[in-house]
């Protein structure tokens, strides 16, 4: 798909990539979008249209990552978006995977011990993700907002400090879990329920991967720069 712009229709964006429904939801846009254009809906809902378009394009296109544009947005907007992303993981994605896993286990023979172990591995990943969300909510995000209010630092000045992608342990473990299911699942199980678990985990993987770029390559350097300025 070509890059989304002011005149793109929301319905076409969703049809092209249904996973964008969850991103739109973070901006308060739910299904039933009619044939509205991006700019109309953003005006109606008082959404910063450029921020909205940048986030959507970043989410849809893996190769699209406009660092300077993203870093030029108000820090509060980035923090708010990532907070809503965290909330989406906590309230929707993780319980959804848990439901699928529970259903799969309940319909599988007791002897399929490797499914039980995969579920335990998922619990470990979930625990780490929830811990990160708690840390964001309790300390990292409030600290960024507090530092931002005390400084006149131009966020553009921190771009040069942005590091390349570093590996994220949670992303790595989600990849491991997906590979375990794809490569090493054995024994009897309900195939349809197995696919449902994999699709749900893939959806989490895509979301985390795309949003980790904003988190690690934009917000983290900004946060470090703000801390140094206020030190």
């Amino acid at each position: 798909m070509t890059l989304i712009n002011h005149d793109s229709k929301l319905s076409e964006i969703i049809v092209h990539d249904p996973s964008t429904i969850t991103v739109l939801d973070r901006f308060g846009i739910t299904l039933g979008v009619g044939d509205a254009r991006v700019i109309d809906t953003c005006h109606e809902k008082d959404i910063d249209v450029d921020f909205f378009i940048t986030i959507l394009n970043t989410y849809i296109n893996e190769d699209y990552f406009p660092q300077e544009i993203l870093a030029s947005f108000n820090v509060a907007k980035l923090v708010d978006y990532l907070s809503k992303t965290n909330s989406y993981y906590e309230r929707n994605v993780l319980p959804n995977i848990e439901r699928h896993f529970a259903f799969l286990l309940s319909k599988s023979p007791l002897a399929n011990n490797n499914l039980v172990l995969m579920r335990q591995f998922f619990d470990e990943v979930k625990g780490e993700l929830l811990q990160r969300i708690k840390n964001d909510c309790d300390s990292w995000f409030p600290e960024i907002m507090s530092n931002e209010q005390q400084t006149s630092l131009s966020v553009k000045t921190v771009i040069r400090d942005i590091e390349n992608d570093c590996t994220d342990p949670i992303e790595d473990k989600i990849d491991d879990l997906i590979n375990m299911l794809i490569m090493h699942l054995k024994g009897d199980y309900d195939h349809n329920l197995g696919y449902a678990v994999i699709v749900a985990i893939f959806s989490l993987k895509k979301d985390i991967k795309q949003n980790n770029r904003i988190r690690n390559r934009i917000l983290r350097p900004i946060s470090q720069a703000l801390s140094h300025t206020n030190a």
């Binding site: 599988s108 023979p109 007791l110 995969m118 790595d172 473990k173 491991d176 090493h184 009897d188 309900d190």
Partner: protein, 180 residues
Amino acid sequence: MPSIKVIILTLDTLKAVGLRCILERSFGIEAMVGDNNYFATLITNGEPNLFFVDTHLLMSHLNFFLPRKSKTIVLSGGFNQIEDFDLIDITSSEQEITSRLNKLLKQEEKKEEKSMTTTLSQREIEVLKLVAMGHINKEIAQELNISINTVLSHRKNLTSKLGIKSVSGLTFYAMMNGIV
């Protein structure tokens, strides 16, 4: 083959005794026999590798057997066609039944072999075991009397073959395959 755990589920005593006798005499397998009450004791007894079940118990416990399709063999009366389940025609001769059993048990044996970690070398399995036990690379090198570079090379191969990067992922894999 004798390590395979087998249960015969039927309400027909003669059918159960006959099949148990063939399994023991021709394949050295000591099969258990059960009836309707078996399903209540499943949790305490653990699941077998193979179920031989007559059509009556199959149909009355279809929800139980459907997810266990690949390990269920139906004792059919010749004309019954039960889709997707392996069948043994109990009206055929003893020789034919034995031959059919031989084929089905070999299939089960192959499944067991396939589930083993055959793609890993012995050394890689040793490294995986130590990783899963919480050893760091230096300790693994000392334990196996190899260089750290060799340990790193084995770990790279493990990740490449298994598609698993993290230590806890490797640990769960090792548990799933009885390596630890």
